[in-house]
């Protein structure tokens, strides 16, 4: 089939072709070719995505409708397994923190901030987008209390801490610990209660900041632990893993 004479083929630049693909106008070999270009040609793929997002504004013309209320549970189940095990600690990791076990008794009063821990970050399903050398840990307490996300760049030694959710316990300050395989916590210093922050892990400690090491946050008196070891409750912990 030859091109229509109205609007010769050269009229159609990549942006138009991308729009046609995004709208689903193409068929047969033409569609196959365009799909292949989308796979192989990043610039073209970006044009298609650009159209998809622009056309996403059509959503304004759609009348909202209420799905079956059970649908949410279905989504949770397929993503997280059996629904609502949120606060359950990951036992393996917890045991590897035998060191911290003394906490279990004393922290009932601080149940507000203490909860389970989650080892792996959600991003596990995302293909590795970062160069090797970046490690990440999600330090999650569960229902209440602050959540932290830590990102460690092995090359520069920079550890970025993002406070996902702050809590309201004003007396004590959070202190960050690195616990390598030998189980002895090394203080990385006191961190702020909110906002993003970045610390540089001292050179001698960097070899310890490896995959599998634990990052934990305990609550300490103003100024940090007086003993050099954690004295307060652990409010969040997680293992460093590859992104």
């Amino acid at each position: 089939m030859s091109d229509e004479t109205h609007q010769g083929g050269d009229e159609r630049d990549d942006a138009v072709l991308a729009g046609e693909l995004a709208l689903g106008l193409l068929s047969g070999a033409e569609r196959d070719d365009a799909e292949a270009r989308r796979r192989d040609d990043a610039a073209f793929a970006a044009l298609v995505e650009d159209w998809e997002l622009k056309l996403g504004d059509f959503v304004a013309e759609v009348a909202p409708a209420t799905p079956d209320p059970r649908l949410w549970q279905g989504i949770e189940r397929s993503l997280f397994g059996q629904a609502e095990t949120r606060a359950a600690p990951a036992p393996g990791l917890w045991q590897s923190l035998a060191f911290w076990r003394w906490l279990s008794a004393g922290t009932a009063a601080l149940a507000l901030v203490l909860a389970g821990l989650v080892a792996l970050l959600v991003l596990s399903s995302v293909p590795p987008a970062e160069p090797p050398g970046a490690l990440i840990a999600a330090l999650q307490p569960g229902e209440a209390g602050p959540s932290f996300l830590a990102h460690f760049d092995q090359a520069s030694g920079r550890l970025a801490i993002h406070v996902v959710r702050a809590d309201e316990e004003p007396v004590l300050v959070p202190e960050l610990w690195l616990i390598p395989e030998d189980g002895t916590p090394r203080s990385l210093g006191v961190i702020g209660r909110t906002g993003d922050q970045e610390i540089v892990i001292p050179e001698p400690l960097r070899p310890h900041a490896r995959r599998g090491a634990t990052l934990a946050i305990s609550l300490e008196p103003e100024g940090g632990s007086p003993t050099g070891q954690p004295t307060g409750p652990v409010i969040a912990a997680g293992t460093l893993d590859e992104i």
């Binding site: 109205h6 046609e20 709208l23």
Partner: protein
């Protein structure tokens, strides 16, 4: 009817704005915050379900598509920031893609005009028009710069995943005319959207 379209509740625009809130929620999803994910579902699922329903035309399939949509949203939340898109447009694009995948799987290989004919009306629904006053986008403004036929063709294609052939048959114009309408329409639309 108690509420006229122009009486859209002002609180939808109040405060930081619903879009800002959705944006924050998506970003939190990227960090693994399940509570944020649940909120995101609560605040966006009706709209996205509307998209799935409009494209697929039946509830049970639309619900399956919606479920897949949110699974994808959770998994891809980390990619949102890169697109710099409006949150609802990003979410809607995922919902459409999931719905279109289902539509194509259901459809026989050759695009039949019969299937095309099932597609719902191509004008915004009355309810949606009321919302559009508040949610009105650049896209809608730019569509108005096209001819009515161009806008209709593009809109039908978006919601119906119609090929040129199906669209030409549905609107009873020669294939070449349809291609010409749409290609010119896309060029103008793009220029307008990028102003």
């Amino acid at each position: 009817m108690p509420g006229s379209p122009s009486a859209a509740p002002p609180e939808t625009r109040a405060g930081a704005g619903p879009e800002d809130r959705l944006e924050t929620l998506i970003e939190r999803c990227a960090l693994g915050d399940r509570a944020a994910f649940e909120l995101l579902y609560r605040h966006s699922s009706a709209k996205l379900f509307g998209v799935c329903l409009r494209i697929l035309g039946n509830r049970s399939e639309a619900e399956e598509a919606l479920q897949e949509t949110y699974i994808k949203i959770w998994r891809n939340a980390g990619q949102y920031a890169r697109t710099r898109a409006r949150p609802l447009s990003w979410l809607a694009a995922i919902a459409r893609n999931q719905s279109i995948d289902r539509l194509r799987a259901r459809r026989p290989q050759a695009d039949s005009v019969d299937v095309a004919a099932e597609i719902a009306g191509d004008e915004p629904s009355p309810e949606a028009s009321a919302l559009a006053a508040d949610e009105r986008r650049r896209l809608q403004d730019c569509l108005e710069t096209l001819s009515a036929q161009q806008a209709t063709a593009i809109r039908r294609s978006y919601f119906g995943d119609l090929t040129y052939e199906a669209l030409a048959a549905q609107m009873s114009v020669p294939l070449g005319t349809m291609k010409s309408w749409i290609r010119r329409g896309l060029i103008r639309l793009k220029a307008c959207l990028e102003q």
